[in-house]
């Protein structure tokens, strides 16, 4: 029955026999994805309350994925010295966030805001249906940076206060 429906949907000639109910091109995980899945880098957690830690917590409700990406900022230079992640989701989501933590290390916060989901997706050869995983990773980076900057803004004494100290 399914074959019948599928045939009509695909408009295939009646003589052709579909081996699979739906003509799906075989899709495999790219080796980069498998690598990140088997050897995840930077899995873990930083102390959320550390003033130098920015936490980005994002979710993709459609698949029930949730991604936490944390960055540790060097106080003086403002650069990201360390990053870690925790993701509950599919292999592509895990790999995307893993890649994200690798790419943000050593960069400034402004710089990492330019990381695009398309670059992550390309690196992992994500199929169209998994593109939103890389989008999630990009959003996680942005959220982490936003949190870190908010904390830094709170920490910095205002010019008036500084003058008063002198």
């Amino acid at each position: 029955m399914l074959r019948l429906v599928a045939n009509r949907l695909l408009g295939t000639a009646s003589g052709e026999v579909l081996k699979r109910p739906l003509q799906v091109l075989p899709r495999f995980y790219h080796e980069n994805v498998i690598d990140h899945y088997n050897n995840p880098r930077n899995v873990g957690s930083f102390d959320k309350n550390d003033p130098n830690v920015g936490t980005g917590l994002v979710g993709a409700p459609a698949c029930g994925d949730v991604m936490k990406l944390q960055i540790k900022i060097d106080e003086e230079s403002g650069k990201i010295v360390d990053a870690c992640f925790k993701t509950f989701g599919c292999g592509s989501a895990i790999a995307s966030s893993s890649v994200a933590t690798e790419w943000v290390k050593g960069k400034s916060m402004d710089e990492v805001l330019t990381i695009k989901n398309t670059e992550i997706a390309k690196h992992l050869s994500l199929p169209p249906v998994k593109l939103h995983c890389s989008m999630l990773a990009e959003d996680a980076i942005k959220a982490a940076v936003k949190d870190a900057e908010a904390k830094r803004a709170k920490m910095k004494p205002s010019p008036i206060e500084k003058a008063a100290d002198v």
Binding site: A60, P61, G64, H132, A143
Partner: protein
């Protein structure tokens, strides 16, 4: 054979969109047959992409034909079963007069198929019986000896009833569907950043991963089912007040709780599978 199919498929898909409401129980007016005419928001979201959102059923005919007179005329001629054309047969998915399966009419929504009011809260218990009743009439196995056309109708019609049954049976899918009927599509790819919800979900997922045994997992799962029920009630509330933003938020929450519940089941299965394997390894054969 293929050539006639080529010709047939587009025509039938065209007519499917039009043949309609004679087949439905709802009180559709004649005008609703012609989506391009009616001003009310056609449930274009019900129509799968392959039919196109702006299908003009009579694209083959000059537009001038679209007038109420021809509408009435066509109305009287389309109020028939394709097979027996018994006067006033009014077939709904299936013609009782000649016992033939009708082509799928996408303007009939899932609630109508099950004879339910279009409300979120429904009697789930009655669904199974109605579903089986439908399959007794529509199942492809019953039409082996019939024409290819009718076999195709059977395949598509019963597939649609299966979809309807599956969708209406579970609260989450029902919620998403009923919102879609209102023209509100839950954007699957929109990122959620509500910190409270996400922190909660994160903690739950971590608990699921670190649960020591099935008992702990079952506890988490029953908590999740409770939350699902609560949020389902919130959805019903929001939907009734037509607060669609709130309704979408409820759906997002339900998705997370359902996912967590599923992970519990998976881990229980994995846990017991591991135990079985260990048993097998350690048992002297």
């Amino acid at each position: 054979m293929y050539k006639t199919k080529q010709l047939w498929t587009p025509l039938s898909s065209v007519f499917r969109g039009v043949l309609p409401t004679t087949c439905s129980l709802a009180s559709f007016t004649a005008n609703s047959q012609f989506p391009s005419l009616s001003s009310h928001r056609q449930s274009s979201s019900r129509v799968p992409p392959r039919y196109g959102l702006n299908f003009s059923p009579y694209s083959k005919f000059p537009l001038l034909r679209f007038c109420s007179q021809s509408a009435a005329k066509l109305d009287s001629t389309t109020k028939r079963c394709w097979n027996c054309v018994a006067p006033g047969s009014m077939p709904f998915l299936y013609c009782d007069s000649c016992r033939s399966i009708q082509p799928v009419d996408l303007s009939i929504d899932y609630f109508q198929i099950f004879g339910l009011e279009k409300k979120y809260e429904i009697e789930v218990d009655g669904l199974e019986r109605k579903y089986k009743d439908w399959q007794k009439k529509l199942h492809p196995d019953l039409v082996h000896s019939k024409s290819e056309k009718e076999r195709e109708y059977a395949a598509e019609q019963s597939a649609r009833v299966i979809d309807a049954y599956r969708t209406l049976r579970k609260p989450l899918s029902r919620a998403i569907y009923i919102l879609r009927l209102e023209g509100v599509d839950v954007d699957e790819e929109q990122t959620v950043s509500d910190p409270e919800l996400l922190t909660e979900i994160m903690e739950i997922r971590e608990a699921v991963e670190e649960a020591p045994d099935s008992q702990a997992l079952n506890q988490i799962q029953s908590r999740m089912n409770e939350k699902l029920e609560e949020t389902s009630d919130s959805f019903a509330n929001a939907f009734q007040k037509r607060n669609f933003d709130e309704a979408v938020t409820c759906i997002q929450k339900m998705t997370y709780y359902q996912r967590a519940s599923l992970c519990c089941s998976c881990n229980v299965i994995m846990g017991s599978a591991t135990l079985r394997i260990e048993e097998m390894i350690t048992t002297d054969v």
